[in-house]
Symmetry: C2
Subunit: 114 residues, 2 copies
DNA sequence: ATTGCTTATCGTCGATATACGATATACGTC
DNA sequence: GACGTATATCGTATATCGACGATAAGCAAT
């Protein structure tokens, strides 16, 4: 089974790039990628990038989905931090959270051999 | 594969940056991100990047999951093209498909305003 | 307060993901 | 051939996703 040091950390004592923090690291990246793991959410993000900001209704209008469905996708994007929404009177104005997007880019770009 | 003109495009007649190709584009990115949208799969990819290649059994040993579950995750990674596996005697040797990873990086890096 | 508009949430449904054990398949060795 | 090892697949259970319509909650204007 495990050739090296069974009971401490199985995970890459040799590599040590892949040590314990890796689990949290993987969870972070998985969470961010999961937010983009649906075509509708990718399109929303892209839409928000092309316009500086976007009223929720505009997003709904662009998508072939029911309003409630779009709202759910927006919630997912908000929960993962990729998108921010601020209330503007009766509407909600969504925009990209550049920091979160940068984080995603950084993690993806960091996917390479040691 | 979206053909050229699907007669009723709600999508961005105004924006036109987000016109039809965007749908396919979004699907591509969503598929790739979806492959990474699970911590176990992120860890597998990372593992394969740190070693040049990896026998399936090694991967199983590193993960707190049953062999069949790991095999399923590997299948997902293989189906999306991120990982390749070649049979080597009684074992299977997995490695990263650098082209697919590069494609993912490119798509993610391309996520920015116009 | 009532109406109208915008967005979020609820309830529900079918489809899919995730996990596991059990079994099947493929290979090398005896 | 029979056996053990390595991996994939099957079958199944549970959880979550993704979609929708219906409804609630918020605000602006009448």
């Amino acid at each position: 089974m495990v050739p090296i040091k069974p009971e401490t950390q199985e995970c890459c004592i040799t590599g040590e790039n892949l040590a314990l923090p890796d689990v949290a690291w993987a969870a972070d990246l998985a969470k961010l990628t999961w937010a983009l793991a649906h075509p509708a959410r990718v399109r929303i993000v892209r839409l928000l990038l092309n316009r500086k900001s976007c009223i929720c209704g505009e997003i709904v209008a662009e998508m072939p989905l029911a309003q409630s469905t779009v709202s759910q996708h927006l919630k997912i994007l908000k929960d993962t931090g990729l998108v921010q929404g601020e209330i503007d009177g009766p509407r909600v104005c969504y925009c990209i959270n550049k920091a979160a997007l940068a984080q995603l880019k950084k993690l993806i770009a960091g996917l390479k051999g040691n």
